[in-house]
């Protein structure tokens, strides 16, 4: 029952799967931070249209299952509407990146918004009183302090995102979970499913545990003393 042979026999394939996971989550991490920052800027903006857009976006994406978002991207936008990034299979990679980033951005936005609420009102008043405009106040004074206040929660959002990246297998992108499924589906595979699960789980922990520790450390280091 605890026969790790299937795991090590397919080790190259599994490594390749994890490399695909890393490529997907790394880019989605960067993009979701950027989208999330833009979204939160909309949500606190004095312009009602932008505020409505931010609120609408967050409420739709945050309340839609990720599987649906990714299938919408791959089957809906890519296949049905033929909005393709490229002619080859890499179009599914790009749709997975976009779908996962767009989904995670809603959570990044909400984490940042709670960060903004920790910044005392006086900071914004002081920024305005020296002549900074809304965007400058947000960029130079408010957001840097908001970010520092929510580094640890953002770490949790990223960990969830790395694990969520397995859903991309449903949308035609071959990452670690889809590699695992392929191995399980091989006709020659008879036993060793549990060791395979354990191996893949360990692989994810290798990605997520350091992410959590790093963000926890960063949170302490960057904390704003008041």
């Amino acid at each position: 029952m605890f026969d790790f042979r299937p795991f090590f026999d397919n080790f190259d394939q599994i490594l390749e799967g994890f490399w695909a996971t890393v490529r997907l989550s790394a880019l989605a991490a960067v993009l979701s931070m950027i989208f999330g920052t833009v979204l939160v800027s909309c949500r606190v903006s004095p312009i009602p249209v932008l505020r409505a857009f931010g609120t609408g976006y967050v409420n739709v994406l945050r309340n839609t299952p990720l599987t649906l978002v990714l299938l919408m991207c791959s089957l809906g936008l890519n296949d049905e509407l033929a909005l393709k990034f490229s002619g080859s299979n890499s179009t599914y990679y790009w749709w997975a990146v976009l779908g996962l980033s767009g989904y995670t951005a809603a959570f990044v936005c909400e984490a940042l918004r709670s960060g903004i609420n920790t910044v005392p009102l006086g900071q914004a008043e002081a920024a305005r009183s020296i002549g900074l405009g809304f965007t400058q106040s947000l960029r130079i004074v408010i957001l840097p302090q908001a970010f520092r206040a929510v580094i640890a929660p953002l770490g949790s959002v990223l960990i969830a995102m790395i694990k969520n990246s397995t859903v991309a297998s449903a949308a035609g992108y071959a990452e670690s979970a889809s590699v695992m499924k392929d191995i399980l589906d091989q006709p020659s595979f008879t036993s060793g499913a549990i060791p395979l699960f354990i191996g893949i789980a360990a692989g994810f922990m290798i990605l997520t545990l350091p992410t959590g520790f790093f963000f926890g450390w960063l949170h302490k280091r960057m904390a704003v003393v008041r």
């Binding site: 004095p46 005392p120 006086g122 900071q123 008043e125 002081a126 920024a127 305005r128 009183s129 020296i130 002549g131 900074l132 405009g133 400058q136 130079i140 004074v141 840097p144 302090q145 520092r148 704003v224 003393v225 008041r226």
Partner: protein, 272 residues
């Protein structure tokens, strides 16, 4: 005084002479004109038909009981509080609506807060240079040179690389004054600048303010410091219940107030 921390020299009246902006060609009339200003907070009528004129180089002290509208008036002059009616003119121009115009006006109106409000994630030097670099588009070197002169003037040049939380309240407030001065404002608003300070730190801040007044800075100061009002102000405005009850010279006001409300207030604070 602060002992080793280099308290500001009260005789520093002849500090850097670029502190007070040159009198511009347009600058002839009064600098701040408040006319028939009304403001409500919900049901509460906090400013009732306020009229006030502040001339160039004048120091106006606003005193009165808590909840009388002093802070609200002070904050409405750079539109941190929007008003419901009336008009406020700064250097002949009416306060603009939110936007670039308003930001430009705020750059010319310095503001010092009760709770200092230094940018917590930036050093003292960065706090002072931020406005000149981002708003006035000065070069970093130029801004830092001027900032160090100002920090030296308020007596905390040796704290320039520290973060606000590492400084005492008095030092933070002096840094906040330097941050406002760095914009070379036409007028400075002080919203109870010493109310959050430990008693032994009040004087170091008041000394800086007295020096500024002596240099001819136009100042509107909301304060409970009667000594400062006597020493530095040309005009005392007594506010209660959202109205300006009395406007007088400091000497007249403190020795011979015209209104019963002011006499009553003074008797309560001056007898102990």
């Amino acid at each position: 005084m602060t002992g080793s921390e280099g308290a500001p020299d009260p005789t520093a009246g002849d500090g850097p002479d670029d502190l007070v902006p040159e009198r511009s060609a347009a600058g002839s009339g009064p600098l701040v004109v408040v006319e028939h200003v009304d403001k409500h907070f919900g049901e509460l009528h906090v400013l009732k038909d306020i009229n006030l004129t502040v001339n160039r180089g004048e120091v106006v002290v606003v005193i009165g009981p808590s909840g009388g509208g002093k802070s609200t008036l002070c904050r409405s002059i750079n539109r941190l509080e929007p008003i419901d009616g009336g008009s406020i003119l700064v250097d002949g121009k009416e306060l603009p609506q939110e936007g670039k115009e308003l930001a430009r006006l705020r750059a010319d109106v310095g503001m010092v807060f009760q709770s200092f409000n230094l940018f917590a994630h930036k050093t003292i030097l960065e706090n002072v240079t931020l406005g000149p670099i981002k708003v006035r588009k000065r070069s970093k070197q130029e801004a830092e040179k001027h900032a160090m002169e100002l920090l030296d003037r308020v007596g905390i040049a040796n704290q320039a690389q520290k973060y606000p939380a590492q400084l005492s309240g008095g030092q933070q407030q002096r840094a906040a004054i330097a941050r406002s001065l760095a914009m070379k404002p036409k007028v400075m608003l002080f919203d109870e600048p010493t109310s959050a300070l430990d008693p032994e730190m009040v004087n170091e801040v008041l000394d800086v303010m007295t020096g500024l007044a002596r240099d001819g800075m136009t100042m509107i100061v909301v304060t409970h410091e009667m000594g400062f009002a006597r020493r530095a102000a040309q005009k005392v405005v007594f506010m209660a219940d959202g109205q300006i009850v009395e406007e007088n010279t400091p000497d007249e006001f403190f020795t011979n107030a015209r209104t019963e409300r002011a006499k009553d207030f003074l008797s309560k604070i001056l007898t102990h």
